[in-house]
Symmetry: C2
Subunit: 295 residues, 2 copies
């Protein structure tokens, strides 16, 4: 049998990108790789060859994979584990796609009366942040992204979560809406961003606040350069309004530094204490913890 | 001088469509025309020729035009009239593009401290609904569309309004989002629509509620055919939450019958009394009232 803890490759295989980290027996990242080979870039039936190439790239080490590779658009659909769930629950339900050589970490689901939600990939980062000792015993963690997740954690168990389509809505509005010509620039965490956060958090009225960007531009009441930052702040403010629990002071934000920086600024602006955790480091820590669990 | 009241053509010239109605001295629509010749379909510099063709089509009658034809993407940019505004204010600020032959009705603007908003075209329908005797002395009117308008009216004066990008967001999500494959069908005002209205009106959390459509589909907790109606209800519920005033029982909804039907059902579901007015009839009534004012 493979001893995963003797060395493996942790693969974060998402919709549009794939990142791989070779981890040695001491738990150190000794090699890594990043490719545009997200699951949508792999032809149907093309996964076994792609996996073999990846294994060869890393000298035949076993591959522990998470993310959309386990979805119905990925290699092998791996059933969701229902919350509440621990890291040990994920490890017990791995899909051993090529036993001893390749395994897929399942995602998590919520099914509670009328509520339904799913995630794939973020759960590894959350358990990693817990393994890094960065998470309070009972808290809600923010994972910003295309589909931002707000994840309730209790004693190292994910008890609940909620997805908000913040990043996707921002991308749609930027690419295809009547506001697109105004939103071409970069969003930066300055005064316009904070003004957007304030509006979004106060009203949550995304559709109404968005149009004001165009009206202010038409009426000469705004700096064109401010529009992308205001829009980003608005969307993140609406996101916080839905996601951040009342009365929770410290909010751990796990994800890509570009996004955690914006969310941290927004959280500070509404009076919370953000703590940023790099998503890549959290992913490696989470995969190591799973590898240690399966031995 | 032309006597507009002796007969003219009322032209509703929007972004993607153009509708024209020949109105005789008795105020009857005696001919009409609909074309895909929205302002975006007219090449820069192409408006005088297009206007001449339209005038010829209607036997040389003078043209009274409203909508995006007066925007910076239209024929001649016609400055907004600031609210509060009456129909007489619009008539006094017409852009006489070809004196006696072609005039453009200005749009309306709001500039009040931090608030900014604009409209072009809907104002004619609102004054038309007032002319038809369909509007209470003091009320807020809904004009649903790509950019839904909620318009406050006091004694035949438009005092305030607010734009919500409901139709545009629905179109973007349907065409380009991860939900697109689920939203191809038609939205109908049944149980799934009302469930969406209820969620949107209760929470306003568009980004969060939207993702639940995908999660329920992935977890087998919804009928695929219900998704477009639920999504439409959700967006309209969020719209009502921002737009419909507390304590206002009757809500006049002016616009295309397809949309006023959905908004009417949503309003009934949250306990209001909708009154639907056909936007085309309101447009004709509004343009007639302007023509009578200018003589």
């Amino acid at each position: 049998m493979t001893r995963w803890s003797e060395g493996f490759v942790a693969v974060d295989w998402g919709t549009t990108n794939r990142r791989a980290y070779a981890i040695d027996a001491a738990g150190q990242v000794v090699d890594s790789d990043k490719a545009d080979a997200g699951v949508l870039a792999i032809a149907p039936g093309g996964f076994p060859a792609e996996v073999a190439k990846l294994r060869a790239r890393f000298g035949g080490l076993p591959l522990l994979m998470a993310g959309m590779v386990g979805s119905n658009r990925g290699w092998i659909e791996t059933p969701y584990v229902a919350c509440p769930a621990t890291l040990a629950d994920l490890a017990a339900k791995l899909c051993h796609a090529e036993p001893g050589h390749a395994a897929i970490v399942p995602g998590l689901s919520i099914l509670d009366g009328d509520r339904a939600d799913v995630m794939r990939g973020e759960e590894v980062q959350i358990f990693g942040a817990i393994a890094l000792g960065a998470v309070a015993e009972r808290t809600t963690i923010c994972h910003p992204g295309t589909h931002t997740k707000w994840i309730a954690v209790e004693r190292a168990r994910i008890t609940d979560f909620r997805t908000i389509m913040t990043g996707e809505l921002f991308a749609l509005i930027r690419a295809h809406s009547i506001l697109a010509p105004l939103l071409a620039g970069e969003a930066v965490p300055g005064a316009a961003f904070r003004a957007g956060v304030e509006r979004g958090f106060a009203t949550g009225a995304l559709g109404a606040e968005l149009f004001s960007i165009r009206a202010r531009a038409l009426l000469g009441r705004s700096e064109a350069a401010d529009a992308p930052s205001f829009a980003s702040g608005l969307l993140i403010g609406c996101d916080l309004r839905s996601g951040v629990p009342d009365g929770q002071d410290e909010v751990v934000v796990v994800g890509s530094p570009t996004l955690t920086r914006l969310y941290a600024e927004a959280l500070r602006h509404i009076g919370r204490r953000p703590r940023e955790i790099d998503g890549a480091a959290a992913f490696v820590a989470g995969m190591r913890a799973i590898a240690e669990t399966i031995g």
